[in-house]
């Protein structure tokens, strides 16, 4: 009786993969933003004739790592859940990743960006 209500495992697995791929696009967009940020600041430092400081490198690479780690953690933590639970874990990971990326950007601009 419960088999009629609950979707078969294969369908749920397919739904999870679809959800994971859809969210992957959002996280990749964040990674793209972080990478372009790094590229822009490398160019800026190059124009000034000085390289990026070690701290700047660390903070900018951290910006790339944030969405990657958030996505990986969400997939690992949510992969055994039902599609709705899995999607909610990914929503939270995306929100947290956006917030942490903004914090990282603010930290970079106010502390490191002074070069």
């Amino acid at each position: 009786m419960s088999a009629e209500v609950v979707a078969p495992p294969r369908a749920r697995r397919g739904a999870r993969i679809g959800i994971a791929l859809a969210f992957l696009l959002a996280f990749l967009w964040q990674v793209y933003g972080a990478v372009s940020n790094l590229v822009v600041w490398l160019g800026f430092a190059g124009v000034l004739g000085s390289g990026l400081t070690a701290t700047a490198w660390v903070v900018l690479l951290l910006g790339i790592a944030i969405p990657v780690v958030a996505y990986a953690a969400a997939v690992v933590l949510g992969r055994t859940r039902r599609p709705l639970g899995f999607a909610l874990v990914l929503v939270l990971a995306l929100c947290a990743s956006e917030a942490l990326s903004l914090s990282q950007l603010a930290f970079f601009l106010s502390v490191v960006g002074a070069l």
């Binding site: 964040q30 933003g33 929503v91 947290a96 917030a99 942490l100 950007l105 603010a106 930290f107 502390v111």
Partner: protein
């Protein structure tokens, strides 16, 4: 042993254990299923309220963070070409998600995590992760 009502009347501990969690639960938890099990008593409700307040305050400061000058200036629609507009819209959507993060975290964790201790731990983790640094750094 055979008559459970008699045993309950004599056993103070079990009586308290059965009755205590059920009384405060309906005040805040209006979920029908397992409301008594989800709340861990008065102290847990107090902590939950404090964490909810923290989430609201963090969201307010995230709104300030999003409008903070350097942060707001870090995205713009450029010259207004379709690609620049699209990327601007995506970036604004990202800022909206960042602003919503603390409240969304609190709501979804309260909704989905049923084990009180784990719920508390995840809520504290969220409160620590989602500190609105842009507003704090700008104010400092």
């Amino acid at each position: 042993m055979t008559d459970p009502t008699d045993e309950d009347a004599l056993s103070w501990d079990r009586d308290a254990a059965l009755a205590a969690p059920k009384r405060p639960a309906p005040l805040i938890d209006d979920r029908p299923a397992g409301a008594g099990a989800a709340s861990g008593g008065g102290f847990a409700l107090l902590v939950l309220g404090v964490l909810g307040g923290v989430a609201v305050i963090e969201t307010a400061f995230w709104i300030r963070s999003a409008f903070e000058l350097q942060i707001a200036a870090s995205i713009d629609p450029g010259s207004g070409s379709p690609i620049e507009i699209a990327s601007f819209v995506l970036n604004v959507a990202g800022r909206v998600l960042a602003v919503l993060a603390p409240v969304a975290w609190f709501a979804i964790i309260c909704w989905r995590v049923r084990v009180p201790s784990r719920r508390l731990a995840v809520l504290v983790l969220g409160a620590v992760l989602l500190v609105p640094w842009p507003a704090i750094l700008a104010g400092g």
